[in-house]
């Protein structure tokens, strides 16, 4: 992780905090069908290993409290933190609190004698929150993933393309409420695309 004084969100220059502070009644239009926010910085840890090996599952469970999900395109850890997002049959993204420096160290130590890989990726991706009644429709405009509630619901996650940018989509709640993990160099582009795609539903920015 970069030194604290050097850390800056790739969306910092958009003034999102100021927009989020505007009282809803001062915003033109009545309904905001799309609610966008930048999620606070989080610890993101790349984890690789063989989920079929009991020792690997046990070591991860010992640190996180749950084993890495073996079922494709699912997340473990529920709506809280830490979470583990399935990215591939031997690959996960572990997400914890920003100030939780212990997890990456504990995972490294627990897996030190195994054929496994733990690396801090915290500053590689920004996380954009997408919610509201129109959130699913916005995703459908730029993503070929089947996001129908029968095909993709809470607790599901996957890498895919959104507006031609690679993202990790994680649906948190049925509402729906999504986390979109995007490489930081694509973050401004994706934010602008989401605002544009959401315009017809009404866009509100929250903190």
């Amino acid at each position: 992780m970069a030194d604290a004084y050097l850390r800056q969100s790739p969306l910092a220059h958009l003034g999102l905090a100021a927009r989020a502070a505007i009282p809803p009644e001062d915003i033109e239009g009545t309904e905001a069908g799309v609610v966008l926010c930048e999620r606070p910085a989080r610890h993101q840890i790349g984890l690789r290993g063989d989920a079929r090996r009991p020792a690997f599952r046990a070591a991860v469970k010992g640190v996180l409290g749950f084993a890495p999900p073996a079922k494709a395109t699912t997340a473990a850890g529920g709506t809280g933190l830490p979470r583990a997002l399935w990215l591939g049959p031997d690959e996960w993204l572990v997400v914890t609190d920003d100030d939780d420096a212990a997890t990456v160290a504990d995972l490294s130590e627990a897996l030190a004698r195994q054929h496994a890989h733990v690396v801090d990726l915290s500053d590689a991706r920004a996380v954009i929150g997408l919610a509201g009644a129109g959130a699913r429709d916005v995703l459908m405009k730029g993503c070929t993933l089947d996001v129908h509630r029968r095909a993709f619901g809470p607790g599901r996650c996957t890498r895919t393309l959104l507006a031609r940018a690679q993202v990790i989509v994680h649906q948190i709640t049925q509402a729906p409420d999504y986390d979109l993990y995007v490489q930081r160099s694509f973050a401004e582009y994706l934010w602008a695309w989401l605002e544009d795609a959401g315009t017809e539903y009404g866009v509100r920015v929250t903190a």
Partner: protein
Amino acid sequence: MLLIPCPWCGRRDESEFACGGEAHIARPADPDAVSDAEWADYLFMRTNPKGAHRERWVHVHGCGRWFNVARHTVTHDISAAYKVGEKPPGDAS
């Protein structure tokens, strides 16, 4: 646009994948023992059938895994997708 059944992720749009060409091409076990012509055949020569074909694909914007696809090159009908190391369906050899 193809809908490709990734063995891990299920049916996904072609734009999430990259094609790696013909599947089941074995590297000569002892490269020093083969002639230049045989080596060139291994490196460069590929079948280009009109009909049933087996290809390697990678789910590059998904799970990142390589796997094999049995596809008809005229109709684009995908009859099977199977993991690397697995036998192609219908192949008794």
